[in-house]
Amino acid sequence: MASMVASGNRDGQPLVPKGVDPETCMIVFKNHWAQVVKILEKHDPLRNEANAVQNYVEHMLFLLMEEDSGQAGAMGPILEFVVMENVMERLFVWSLRREFTDDMKLEQLKMYEMLVGQARQPLLHHKPILRPLMMLLSSCSGTAAPQVEAELVLLLNQLCCVLAKDPSILELFFHTSEDQGATNFLIFSLLIPFIHREGTVGQQARDALLLIMALSAENERVAKHVAENTYFCPVLATGLSGLYSSLPTKLEVPNEEWHCLHKEDWLKMPSLVQFLNSLEFCNAVIQVAHPDIRDQLVGYIYNGFLVPVLAPALHKLTLEEVMTTTAYLDLFLRSVTEPALLQTFLSFILLHRHESVHILDTLVSRINTPFQLGTVSLALFRTLIGLYCEDVMLQLVLRYLIPCNHMMLSQRRVVRERDCYSVSAAKILALTPSCCSPDRSPPPLRQLDSILFSKGISCCVAVLHHFTPCSHMSNSLFLLCVSAALRQIYLDVSYLHYLYDARLSISGCIQACQVWSALYDGEDPPPEKYQPGVLEEPALTRTQMVLKRVPKPVAPRPQHRPQPNTEPPAVNQLELEWDDSYDACPVQTAEAPVESKPPQQPPAEPPKHIQEMRKTAIMLVKGTYIEENEFQDDVMVYDLVAKKDARDVERAKLKSRGSESESTQQGSAELPLKNGLSLTLPPSLMAENSMKTLEPKATGQTDCKSNLQNNNTAAAELGDDLLAQYEELIRTLDSEAGGKQVKTDAEVKKPVAPAAEVEEEEEEEEMDFTSFSAETPEPEKVQSPFGPKFCSGSVGRSHSVPFTGPFVSVLLSRMENMLSNSLHVNLLLTGILAQLAAYPQPLLRSFLLNTNLVFQPTVRSLYQVLATVKHQIEEQAASRKDFPELITAAQHWLLARETSFMAAAISLDRTDVFATVLFTEFLKELAAIAQEHSILSYIPMEE
């Protein structure tokens, strides 16, 4: 009907010539309508009569569109006539009576799109226009024709734009729906099914929804409606789960150096792009929407995506899968910008327990895996540390430093002491290996070698004027350097760059940490208050924390229910098809958090809307769904959503049930991956430099020989791979260590336990934890890079023994093995340590940088580790005549990476050589940070 109208207009030939007087237009309009009415009233219009209607209507719409509003905003005469005669509705009803094809829907949608977009007077304020529009929209909701969908979303988007500009129409939108017997905000509901669509349609729908979200921030009614009467939030959150399930479970990693998903990586993965679009949309909704909606959405993302989907994905069976999930998580963290959404992700990482182990502890323990998983995990922690989040830093490092028992009691005052004379920097730089002495390398290279360490951080140096409060200082410093350089004194000019970078990074960090709650300076929080044990709260409290932080929903929520795994066994099969994530968020109720509640309660009725939704979904599954309501009812819309979701959920359920059974069979095999890998890797493994011999075998999973009895299932094969890797490790280590590893023998047996013993196994796992934590780190154990303590984390560790936390331990361990680490691992490691060192909190700063601080004998400091590495380097250099040449070659090679400078070939396998070069540069970086701390942290500011 409107297609010609639309096209006519697009050709730029308006059917109504300009300047025709309004009266004439009115007469023409009335005449046309009279003709149309005659045809409308016939029961069975002829084909040519239908065409005539189309022509008339086409012309009439143009007249309506071109009409200006009357005086003082009154309706123009044509509009008044349209309203009086109920023209639009009658036309719509007529077309319904005939065969209402997709083509007709398309035409009518276009007609309204044109009217809404181009009319010169407001039309939507009038019910006789709005009502048929709503009816039309409803009738289009179930359609599957892509063209109709596209046009529908376009029109909805347009309506939302009008709403955003003129919120007064909002009331009408609500009222119109009520007339239809539905209480919903139709244009909003209609958009929901398109939330996760890819392409233009999805984008338009999301844009339109965002307009409404922004509206909700101002309009209590919209907010209430969205939060209480729609499934917007659950659809959004579970949609993430759906999209996540279509992501590749194993990434094809381009090379060994690869450690995180860059834009150029994920742009090549349409499913990931789609996921990120939806995540970005969630982020945007949280940014603009009413707090009620925001809180609800965040809760659903936690309970509907992170816990049920991401947590298990982080605990998959193979290294590649786990590595892939870790890389995704890192990417998500880098994509999210809204604090509320970041909080959700972070509290998942910090507080959620998967099979009684905190996600954080698992992630930390994986840093120690010698495979690419270790590198990817490092990259994830680089992201985490870069958030300047107090909660993260507290859990990772600070909580272990607060009691101050990592240092001698007399040393507490040193924590806040200022290193006025760069004593620490001097001590750090004094660790420079003799083969890399700044007095040794030739001047040209010295000038350039600062490029070495730029590590992709794009910044250029303005040494001049770089001190804000006393910029003249740097002038003189600069002149000092220049004049020294001119006089051929070996002054390390590159060091200026490190100073400049250090200043940027520390001042940025100081600024970011201004929102923190405490100074962490050895007095605030007071160490006495947090003596051993105090920081370690019981498991229950932890869970409560999680619950507490999940925002209170506005909508009625399920009452307190037992944890999902304690659910009554006799559940209807179909019920199981429904996504439990909706009601598995028991703990969200306001009264839930607390001690007074008994740990278990009989399951209460889920809230009404969940019940409804579930009912509908069940009906769909059973295939007995009957359209009880007219299409204008929103239920239909939700059905569509629910149907899709139910399908997804079903798939997901099947999948997860599959993996559940896998893990039941292979439960024991999972053990080494989660914790065992790092537990069982012996100290000698890395220390003895055996990485190179190990890795090829470990990553190539095909040549594994399995001891498993039942390797006939795919699951078993997966487990197999892992076992094979694991055994490979053990074998290597046995030969290396000469069978000294008594403890490992016991652990070797563990993974091959038959499935029947799974439960026992799990108990053993628990026991392992406790036995580790009960262990006293004897000095030699502390020395061992793969000491078991790294994995026990927060699980029942006794604080009587000074311990700086698993994260620091694991970083220092890997650092100690610098010489055998690959170049990119060392870049990541030193990058993370430098980032940590830039934090201004005296506890952290003194721990990492103050070389005067006297630690407890069992505590390993960064300086100690660096000294160990230096020693290793000196030994290496002494035993190899060509070491200095190799160093020069490595320096040139690294320079060549950044410039067009041609370098002599040197194999990257010479990790010791590259590590030596990096080590030297890292010392400079650390020393520069220490020096800048002595200035920046003390610059007085106005109160």
Binding site: L346, I457, S476, Q511, E898
Partner: protein, 289 residues
């Protein structure tokens, strides 16, 4: 009473005092994010103190000689931030452009015998700081004072700091001492025996000599700085067109932390309740950034 004048740093071009938050335009970024040295400033001159040449690669304590200047520079920076922190009444210092070892200063005496005195001075810091002798403080014009050398203008600092001890002695203490001598006159072992004797024997004559000395100093206030340096302190007569605006800014402006770190707009995150060490312990659970 403060005479009408305005002292400023003698600065070559359009450089502005950094205090009001308007920082110098950042240098142009290089396309590849590479680090490079800035061009040598046109007024670059060799530093006053020659750097020790031909030193062995490592000094006795194992540190590399190449980094020595950096340690010195940062020690002096630390000293300077300490001075700022002390907020010494009536004392202003400014390290020179050419060497961090030379600081220009001025001291305003607000009451007592030397009331209304405005004395410019220069501090010379030994290049083996902090392990050497104590810094020297020399007044531009020798003030009539028992402890100030009538010829060189040098203040007898050493009597207060017989041995300069790192970590204990700081340059702000020297500045503080320079102020104290004008309020509490000491005549023991004077550098200017005439002043000492007069003070003990004929205070009236001493006072009138002091008044003359103060007048003399103040009459030379608008002279060109003794040492030609972009950061030397120079005085000029009050000129509303030039100084009014700056004065207003001085009285209204408070340096806020955000200004201080301009250009690096990073915001951290925290959901830790003050007084707690639990993550996400804030009551409301609403995001705080």
């Amino acid at each position: 009473m403060l005479p009408f004048f305005f002292f400023s740093l003698q600065r070559s071009d359009n450089e502005e005092q950094s205090g009001h938050g308007e920082q110098r335009a950042s240098p142009a970024r290089l396309p590849f994010g590479k680090k490079q040295l800035p061009p040598i400033p046109k007024n670059a001159a060799p530093i006053t103190k020659p750097v020790t040449t031909g030193t062995p690669a490592q000094s006795a304590n194992g540190t590399h000689a190449s980094y020595g200047p950096f340690y010195l520079e940062y020690s002096l920076l630390a000293e300077f931030t300490l001075v700022i922190k002390q907020k010494l009444p009536g004392i202003y210092v400014q390290p020179s452009y050419k060497s961090a070892l030379m600081w220009f200063g001025v001291i305003f005496i607000r009451h007592g015998l030397y009331q209304d005195g405005v004395f410019k001075f220069t501090v010379y810091i030994p290049d083996n700081y902090p392990d050497g002798e104590c810094p020297k403080l020399v007044f531009d014009i020798p003030v009539f004072h028992p402890l100030v050398d009538p010829v060189s203008g040098e203040l007898d600092v050493r009597r207060a700091f017989t041995k300069w001890r790192r970590n204990h002695n700081h340059i702000w203490q020297v500045l503080m001492y320079a102020r104290t001598i004008f309020y509490k006159i000491n005549t023991v072992e004077p550098l200017n025996p005439e002043a000492a004797v007069l003070y003990d024997k004929d205070v009236h004559l001493f006072k009138s000599k002091v008044v003359d000395s103060v007048k003399l100093c103040n009459s030379h206030l608008f002279d060109q700085p003794k040492i030609d340096d972009p950061y030397a302190i120079s005085f000029s007569p009050w000129n509303p067109a030039v100084h009014e605006e700056a004065k207003e800014r001085m009285f209204t402006y408070k340096r806020r932390p955000e200004d201080h770190h301009k250009g690096t707009q990073v915001s951290g995150l925290s959901w830790v309740k003050p007084g707690s060490t639990q993550p996400f312990s804030k009551e409301d659970g609403s995001p705080q950034s």
